[in-house]
């Protein structure tokens, strides 16, 4: 399945939830926030939110800044 992840086209396995995708990418879910098609995905719904073809996902975290 093809999605846009942090601005880049990417192929991922079919049927993944947001939680599943984070695990697939090796990301600790509690350290990040996810936006799907410009909508925030609440952390509590990571396991139940299924990713679909063409989704645009942003995975962000806190970095050093002023």
């Amino acid at each position: 399945m093809n999605i846009t992840l942090n601005g880049d086209a990417r192929a991922i396995p079919d049927g993944l939830s947001v939680e599943g995708l984070l695990q697939h990418l090796g990301i600790v879910s509690k350290k990040v926030a996810v936006e799907r098609n410009l909508e925030i995905v609440p952390k509590s719904t990571f396991p139940s939110t299924l990713i679909t073809e063409g989704d645009r996902l942003e995975i962000v975290h806190f970095i050093g800044g002023g």
């Binding site: 990040v32 050093g64 800044g65």
Partner: protein, 263 residues
């Protein structure tokens, strides 16, 4: 006995949250996360600003800021650095709230790459949307008393005028405006951006500011840890001097030693 015998008796309250340090520091531009953590510790800051950025997907296992600067120990203040429109700023802070789970944020909407000067029109729009969405908004703004008042009237919980452009280290360029903003505001006023060295921070506090927010002045010092300590002391000294009430300025000398009994 004066009840303000030490700075710890004089707490700083923003959006109902109480802090003992009046120095807020950024977490950018350090050599590495270890240095960031040590500088923050030396500064005594309890609130640290952080930016929101995409996770590096090519190496998701690399260390993250939260591994070094504990969000349980420090209050993370997510910023919107790099946002040039109200929409981008609001979107960024909604993500930040989801990442961190809190609603105290620093709004900055920039107008221009060269000066990083605030775009107040977009800032007002973003502030309105964020406040409606139940954020507590500390707002980076120009040192314009009229716009500062507008932002306060919208419901911002702290007004943060610049001393000078971000990262310039030029110090307070318009102390008169800062003082006017301090006098007219009912919410905390913090100088944000432009501080270069300890005396600049002390001047901000002597003008009656409730706090100072800085990043580059510490991170770009030759010895950031030492400068962090210097800034802590400067903010405390400036605050105490403000509370003490300075002597009046006068044109001519006034001897400190009595003239009576002179041989």
């Amino acid at each position: 006995m004066n009840n303000i015998s030490s700075p710890t008796d004089d707490s700083f309250v923003v959006a109902g949250r109480r802090f003992s340090s009046r120095l807020l520091v950024g977490t950018g531009k350090y050599k590495d996360f270890e240095e960031t953590a040590r500088a923050i510790d030396a500064s005594g800051a309890e609130i640290v600003t952080v930016a929101v950025r995409r996770v590096n997907l090519s190496d998701a296992s690399q260390p993250m800021l939260v591994d070094f600067v504990d969000p349980k120990k420090y209050t993370y203040l997510p910023n919107t650095a790099g946002c040039y429109t109200a929409d981008d700023a609001v979107r960024t802070l909604r993500l930040a709230r989801e990442a961190g789970g809190w609603n105290l944020v620093k709004l900055e909407v920039l107008g221009d790459h060269k000066t990083l000067y605030p775009n107040i029109i977009e800032t007002l729009k973003a502030a309105e949307a964020l406040i409606k969405d139940k954020f507590d908004v500390m707002v980076y703004c120009t040192d314009d008393p009229i716009m500062s008042k507008r932002l306060e009237d919208l419901g911002c919980c702290a007004i943060m005028p610049l001393a000078a452009p971000i990262g310039s280290g030029l110090g307070i360029q318009n102390p008169v405006n800062i003082r006017i903003i301090v006098e007219q505001s009912k919410v905390p006023v913090l100088v944000d951006a432009g501080v270069g060295t300890a005396s600049d921070a002390a001047i901000a506090m002597e003008l009656g500011c409730d706090g100072v927010l800085m990043n580059t002045a510490i991170a770009a010092a030759k010895d950031p840890i030492k400068m962090a300590k210097a800034m802590k002391l400067a903010v405390e000294a400036g605050r105490l001097a403000y509370l003490a009430g300075r002597m009046p300025r006068q044109m001519y000398a006034d001897p400190s030693s009595p003239l009576a009994g002179l041989i």
